[in-house]
Assembly symmetry: C2
Homo-oligomer: 405 residues x 2
């Protein structure tokens, strides 16, 4: 018996990145392919201390069933923090703890999307969430990224076209800061424009901000949620890059009118998120020096990003352009227009350097991209230098042999 | 702006039980309403030891991103354990770690069910999973429970009727051992019959076994999965009742042909389950005395169930029937046929005893039930005696005042 798979899942394939992740475990491979935060940023000693303290003094509080909406002290801490730092209005909004940022996207889609609805995404965009939207039968339509953020003219014309043809567009998915995969930050003027256009066409926005705390250059840009006057924006954050990914703890901020459906969606997905790590996040944010910890992490990423970018400038063929991330984990490089990066990435893997081709991040899985993503947070300095050297030579050979006539 | 909710979620309401759970936090309330395992069964000292050991010696291994399918040593341990104990065939089957048993049901439904498909469930059945099925737009059809398990004649006639009317029936959901909410165990002959009928009509089975390790009376009955010759059964287990619920660790066993869609479904739901607790489960199962631990837990539940049943026999009106659980956390009592238990439960809550009405567990949320669920794992012995005394008096008053003419 070969069981029949649901329509929405039958056409979906595993994330190319998660599969590459397995290749990346080969100790001889220089991996710029993954998306792991740097393990040296994890506050290991403090995690150990807090875990030992609560498991000794009040174990049942972190082992028994918890509340679906999350551990109340952590929710309160995050509300204060986000109200102060991002200007969020918790008179009108609610915050739930979710099992990593990915679940924020999953619950949002479950609650808002009917099969056949359109979800707009940046293009390229984080493939994990593209697959989430696909898993609910959404139709994906991509809005191109430019070096200063989403192409808002394309956003407006796409919405005009889709609306005219009777499509139901449900929400826009965006990572405005240090986007995965491009590393690009959408500038303030474009964020305002994004909000204005979504307001005009009355669509929701899912603002995903997993890297927001990791700004190491430039200056802070207000979130789209901070401009939200009419409950249009769901905002998703995560402790995966500020504490540790295996915590599986994130949070979702949303208009209070969504409390009931999001509660039910969370209940019937995983009941609640694990309580010990919610407790650890709260203790760490309130009793340790959260800002100093973030500053230390930012310094690690600043150093690694600077090293990789400097090496790319030195070694890459001058026709290969790339983003200049001011935070986060990724930089994206682009072969000359018209070239497909996929065979380039395969050749790089043959030469021992793991990359992810831009095509993995497209709304149309059969699409072609001239970009490839590089991660600088995981590899050692030595591997960054060596890997970029290999890639640099490859860019020269490749462009010479494959230049578009 | 009041955001529009997806069709599948718009009609869903929060679990009555999770709401009652909040009421149950009132220290003056005697709560037989929850479904919490007894906190005294949690192996707290060992959890603390294992967590301290790994967070000291190899922290990054449990803090960095893990594999979607789960922590390999735990998967291997569980495969050996289930092959030996339940006779599962891991040549043909695979096992993934999931974020609690609830996620096992969620992934199964995502992978198998299209909107409008029928899911068959025992009636009454665990409402958390009913809501999971509803959240994918499944139509629920209930198969009545009898004191020795599912009514297999009703199963066969229902399938005949649904098939004749062109309905697409996707799977049958069952908790064969110590069912939630009834506490009933489906006898072996009926399990074989369930498998035969599902084979005849070529439908899948989701066998949920969160309480299987908690048998404290009677003798073991083989799982339906152990009879599965053609990859028809997905089997879900959980550490929520054998370690601690806030671990959010369970496992799903399924035919290898489902590996790809279940991997993708898990990736786009929460990436992977938290690694520390997977590590703790594995260490505990392999380096401590797992069987002795289960035996201790079974003794706790045996004591509490015996006390509650003995008190119910003494105090309840003789026209109130109830199940005799041989394991698990619940017993279900039934007012005389034709009576609605809902107003009885409301009156019990007024008198300080929290129960869940049987109607919370029906495929049709507007249905009426003469049953109410009692949980014996959480309350103290003193509260069991006191609560049953209050309920006993209420059964006499109620039947006298409300007896069907």
């Amino acid at each position: 018996m070969a069981p029949e798979i649901s329509n929405k899942m039958a056409s979906l394939h595993g994330s190319m990145i998660r599969e590459l992740f397995k290749l990346g475990a080969d100790p001889n491979m220089i991996s710029f392919g993954g998306g792991n935060p740097s393990a040296e940023t994890f506050p290991v000693k403090e995690i150990e201390e807090i875990a030992a303290e609560v498991l000794t003094n009040d174990p049942i509080s972190v082992l028994q069933y918890g509340l679906t909406e999350g551990y109340t002290p952590l929710r309160d801490t995050l509300k204060c923090y986000l109200a102060e730092k991002e200007g969020f209005d918790f008179e009108k909004n609610e915050l739930f703890i979710v099992s990593g940022g990915q679940q924020g996207a999953d619950l949002t889609t479950k609650v808002l999307v009917n099969e056949g609805d359109v979800v707009l995404t940046e293009e390229p965009a984080f493939v994990g969430c593209l697959n989430t939207f696909r898993s609910y039968g959404a139709k994906l339509v991509g809005i191109p990224m430019q070096m200063d953020g989403m192409d808002t003219e394309a956003l407006e014309s796409t919405l005009a076209r889709l609306t005219a043809s009777g499509e139901k567009v449900r929400f826009l998915y965006t990572i405005p800061s240090f986007q995965n995969p491009t590393g690009i930050t959408t500038v303030l003027a474009k964020r305002k424009e994004v909000y204005r256009i979504c307001q005009k066409y009355d669509i929701m926005i899912l603002e995903d901000n997993p890297y927001g705390e990791l700004r190491f250059a430039g200056s802070n840009v207000p979130t789209i949620k901070s401009m939200d006057t009419d409950g249009r924006v769901l905002y998703c954050g995560s402790f995966s890059k500020t504490m540790a990914p295996a915590f599986r703890i994130g949070f979702l901020v949303f208009d209070k009118s969504l409390i009931n459906p999001i509660t039910v969606a969370k209940q019937c997905t995983d009941v609640h998120s694990n309580v010990l790590f919610q407790y650890i996040c709260n203790e760490y944010m309130t009793k340790y020096d959260w800002n100093a910890h973030l500053e230390t992490s930012r310094n690690v990423y600043h150093h690694k990003a600077s090293l990789m970018l400097e090496q790319m400038k030195l070694k890459f063929h001058p026709d290969v352009k790339f983003s200049t991330p001011e935070g986060g984990l990724f930089v994206m490089a682009f072969l000359p227009e018209g070239m497909d990066a996929y065979p380039f990435v395969r050749e790089a893997i043959n030469k021992g350097v793991l990359l992810v081709p831009g095509s993995a991040f497209l709304a149309d899985p059969a699409g072609v991209s001239n970009g490839f993503r590089l991660n600088y947070s995981s590899p050692s300095d030595e591997k960054i230098v060596k890997g970029i050297d290999i890639l640099g030579k490859l860019t020269y050979a490749w462009i010479q042999n494959h230049s578009v006539q």
